[in-house]
Symmetry: C2
Subunit: 354 residues, 2 copies
């Protein structure tokens, strides 16, 4: 996961660049605060962030403004989850002394950058964005797609460039966002006649997406098919008991399928003893290992993984003032960084009179 | 032109409103700084502003960000004209001690408000906006309409509401902008469950649009068919000499047409002696008044109107530091005002954690 630093040896880049001294490979990532985080996030991104903060500059943006782009009329869903998400971050070990955690709405420079970039992206280009197209198809906007939703790739480009983000952890489906960002970067650099913004590249995750406990729908708190990071012992127990296994594995002695069997997917993701999981899989395939037995093993494992996270989370969540201090400090730092980038962009447009 | 204050007596409004004490009818107006101002602006808006500043709170926004929405790749056109437009304002008598003159790009709260409002306006609604539709039709965007251009009515709503603007001087063609703003205001107030934003109404100008000197195209410095506010004596003389009159009025004794005759339109607009202009019109219609003669009368009149403006303009333009001080002070004041409105909007969305 270490960064490829080949860009740095590009002499042309350095010659033209005015801020190389402060430059280091930097990660920009984040979440829309529309719900508490769950084990899907833990596997998909949080664990990686905990590792990356040791080797990289990392900014994690709680993207409340982006959360509003499809919740404009239901802002409560966003506002009430900001501190939830922050507590989740802290609980899993994201350390504000190593990672800058900031709040999008508390960084005015991001909105300002979005305004400038909006003039360099056509409506047709936004409408062609495959990620946005897919998302629009799965949401119930009808013909009423909010302007903020169509244009959110521009806002995302502002987020990435504002922190000189060069490495952006994404899934395959988010690659068009990176491309859109780099198009804006190139246009801006052409206007500025120097490389004032950095292109970014994806840090593709190779971790497969964790399935929901029902093995069907997307994880969602309201569907009760995910395990939250503060799940109680009882929540965990119930969630594992209800997990989708192999519907044809009716008797203990029957051979069972491991593929698509949610219990095994979770065992693979959370049981650190790989050899043990392989043994269980063989046994299950052969027959002779009951669903009850593997669920008990998984439950024990999840209880062990979640217990310290839950405890830390309760501790952090109980001190709201501390949470606010953390996000305020991170946001202030981010606003300072983003202001420097904004200044370069405004200068490119000739708008630094004072 | 005095404001209709009937809104103020709406008890329900006052009961729910938290900022009535600081409230006064307020005008928001402005210009895109894409060129020096000319006599068309003088007649169409500047004279009115000089009058209104005596009776109203007035904010004039130099809308550089809006100027970029169709000049993103040619920002020089915008940036070089900010101080030109400011000098034009001062030259005609707009007084920064009475009118707040501010620069859009220097007021971050405007960009922030635009982001929030973007979530409440659909793309389809923007595409239906008649003003935007007309403008798109007359510009050479092709299929590449910049996102910032399509969404500029949202940014304009931010401008108006940020200063509690309740009275917006517009031409007929701009009425859809007022409507769009009030739609956003109502949506926001519904989310906030109180009237945190004020609806605005148009202050319709009844002054007919001043024609260009060629009587055909829109006024444009590059076409040389307009008279700038700093036109030299020679510029004025040449402009009047080239003015479109009645093409069938070939000899002095021929009867001439006054309608569509640019010289007479200008005489009506700039000669304060209305009776004298009426006498000239009768004489021209009858025959016996040559184009040379009426042009000489108009030229004398314009020389007299423009001389003091030109002199004041040169004075202001020669002190760049003073210009910057004026626009900086106005912008700072505007940012303070806009921040208060932004705070209410963020509060409505639940985003005032700190």
């Amino acid at each position: 996961m270490h960064s490829n630093t080949s860009n740095h040896s590009n002499t042309a880049f350095f010659t033209k660049n005015t801020f190389q001294e402060s430059y280091q490979e930097k990660i920009l990532t984040g979440d829309r605060p529309t719900g508490q985080l769950h084990l899907g996030h833990f596997v998909g991104s949080l664990q990686q962030r905990v590792v990356l903060q040791e080797s990289h500059q990392q900014t994690i943006l709680i993207a409340d403004l982006q959360g509003l782009t499809d919740n404009g009329h239901n802002p409560h869903k966003v506002s009430t989850n900001i501190l939830n998400v922050l507590a989740d971050y802290l609980a899993v070990g994201i350390d504000p002394s190593k990672t800058t955690i900031s709040l999008q709405s508390a960084i005015p420079a991001l909105s300002e950058l979005t305004m400038y970039y909006s003039n360099l992206v056509s409506v047709a280009r936004l409408q062609r964005n495959p990620t946005v197209k897919n998302e629009i198809a799965t949401k119930s906007f009808g013909l009423s797609i909010p302007a903020g939703f169509l244009t959110y790739p521009i806002s995302q480009a502002a987020d990435i460039t504002a922190f000189n983000g060069t490495l952006v952890p994404v899934g395959d489906d988010q690659l068009p966002m990176i491309e859109q960002t780099n198009e804006i970067v190139r246009k801006l650099n052409r206007i500025a006649k120097e490389d004032i913004l950095l292109e970014c590249r994806p840090l593709l995750s190779h971790v497969p997406r964790l399935p929901s406990t029902d093995g069907k729908s997307k994880m969602s708190k309201s569907l009760g098919n995910c395990i939250l990071l503060d799940a109680s012992e009882k929540d965990i127990s119930q969630a594992v008991k209800s997990m989708y296994t192999d519907p044809n594995h009716l008797k203990v002695d029957d051979p069972g399928r491991v593929e698509g069997n949610v219990v095994f997917t979770y065992l693979e993701a959370f049981c650190s003893d790989v050899a043990y999981v392989e043994t269980l899989k063989s046994q299950y395939r052969r027959g002779g290992l009951g669903d009850g037995a593997i669920k008990k093993i998984l439950e024990d494992c999840l209880q062990e993984v979640i217990k310290p996270i839950r405890e830390r989370r309760h501790l952090f969540a109980s001190d709201k003032a501390q949470l606010i201090d953390i996000i305020r400090e991170g946001s202030d730092k981010s606003q300072t960084e983003a202001s420097a980038v904004l200044h370069r962009v405004k200068h490119a447009f000739g708008l630094t009179l004072f």
